[in-house]
């Protein structure tokens, strides 16, 4: 049997890990003598660490220098597209986010990932003046992680509603939503006082409300549509009749016990 582990802290720690599974590590290769050498040389002192993963250059930089690095990559190294930009939540482990920019050089078919670590509560500089695609990407990062972006032209939520509370891609955010999320539509449309009337969300797909006689009919204890449910009152199953037989008449011999 699998040993019991408390699950109240699932977002911080995986409660089940396979004993025999070894997480595969992508091999990291040296940059020297590859076609990425010039790129790393151009970046100079900005580079804290660099290696090649699956044919892609990964460059670690300082969070305060992201704009300068991306500017060099764009103007001197030909990485004219910023195809992806977001963050990864490492708050529980390290107390910081990992931010990354995925750069593409179309002419030479080369890709670079620029990676930096950002402490919780700090802001990052916007790269929107360099890449227009960063506009939405940074808004999404702000929406999903709550990372503020300095000098962004229009920093507001992009996926979630403007009045949403919480940042859903944080590992501490529950998948089924917190209290605010689960009552959002009721609060917004009817008002908070309707919470009691409408009731909590049903997240159990197999749940049947036997007191609800409008949507469910309990076999063996059937009551007419929409009537008040009374647990004591049991109504027999009514079978259909044919011209020949009335199944509701209990004429046949009933055996008290099985022989």
């Amino acid at each position: 049997m699998r040993k019991y582990v408390p699950k109240d802290n699932v977002q911080k720690k995986a409660y089940y890990t396979d004993r025999f599974h070894v997480v595969p590590r992508v091999p990291r290769e040296k940059v020297i003598d590859t076609h990425f050498e010039a790129t790393v040389f151009n970046l100079g002192d900005y580079v804290k660490d660099s290696y090649i993963e699956i044919g892609q250059l990964v460059v670690h930089i300082d969070a305060s220098e992201n704009f300068a690095v991306l500017k060099i990559l764009k103007e001197q190294c030909g990485y004219t597209q910023c195809s992806e930009q977001s963050a990864v939540d490492y708050l529980a482990k390290d107390g910081e986010f990992e931010l990354f920019w995925q750069m593409l050089n179309v002419n030479e078919a080369k890709r670079v990932r620029v990676v930096c670590r950002l402490k919780e509560g700090l802001a990052i500089e916007s790269v929107e003046p360099l890449f227009k695609s960063a506009n939405f990407a940074e808004r999404e990062m702000f929406d999903m992680f709550g990372i503020k972006v300095n000098n962004h032209p229009f920093l507001k939520r992009i996926l979630m509603p403007d009045d949403w509370e919480g940042h859903p891609l944080l590992k501490t955010y529950p998948l089924f939503g917190d209290e605010f999320a689960s009552w959002y539509e009721v609060d917004k449309i009817f008002g908070k006082e309707y919470r009691d009337i409408i009731g909590p969300e049903n997240r159990d797909p197999g749940k049947i409300d036997i007191e609800d006689t409008k949507r469910f009919s309990r076999v063996g204890y059937e009551v007419p549509f929409g009537t008040e449910y009374n647990a004591d009152e049991e109504v027999d199953i009514a079978y259909s009749e044919t011209a020949l037989v009335n199944y509701n008449k209990k004429t046949s011999k009933q055996l008290d016990e099985r022989r």
Binding site: L175, G177, I198
Partner: protein, 180 residues
């Protein structure tokens, strides 16, 4: 006297039909159900297919209208996200009485596979539903069947909409639910 004169006294020859007001009104209502052109997710593709020529909703008198003011039926076809729930309710409120609602697909019925923070777990939390249509996605035939069931329901109703009760949003999960 002309030979071709219609014999009004023969069977079914009378140019008069006798009926009740309820029947007459419901005949009109049920045979010209105009749904709102309103799709939310993949189910809406099936809804469009039902409206297009192969399945041909028009032959049932069901013509999609682009304005809630002209629509009688709201087909909630797809995943209703929490962000959008307010607008869905507003569109429902803008529709004039009499109005009916079909909840199409598992997403609209119960939240479906999207058991997450961002999806409304069943549109009946905010809008009273008349017909639940199961499936992911329900085929166009089943949407037509749902429409026919709705017609059947309307024909049973009273012409006076005040006498017809809508689904009570409050009774579904508000009461302490017991499991069996």
């Amino acid at each position: 006297m002309a030979q071709h004169q219609v014999n009004y006294a023969s069977s079914a020859g009378l140019p008069i039909a006798l009926t009740s007001v309820d029947k007459l009104v419901n005949w009109g209502r049920s045979n010209s159900l105009w749904p709102l052109t309103y799709g939310l997710a993949c189910c809406a593709i099936e809804m469009m297919a039902s409206g297009a020529s192969r399945y041909d909703f028009d032959r049932m008198g069901t013509i999609f209208r682009a304005s809630p003011r002209q629509a009688d039926v709201m087909i909630l076809a797809g995943t209703l996200s929490k962000k959008h729930s307010e607008f869905a309710r507003r569109l429902y409120d803008q529709m004039t009485e009499p109005k009916w609602v079909i909840s199409m697909g598992s997403c609209a019925n119960t939240g479906g596979m999207f058991n997450t923070y961002a999806t409304v777990q069943g549109v009946d939390r905010i809008i009273p539903v008349d017909i639940y249509l199961p499936g992911c996605a329900p085929r166009p035939e089943t949407l037509q069947y749902a429409m026919m069931m709705l017609q059947k329901k309307i024909r049973r109703e009273s012409a006076d909409m005040k006498k017809n009760t809508k689904q009570d949003l409050t009774t579904q999960t508000g009461k302490r639910a017991r499991l069996i």
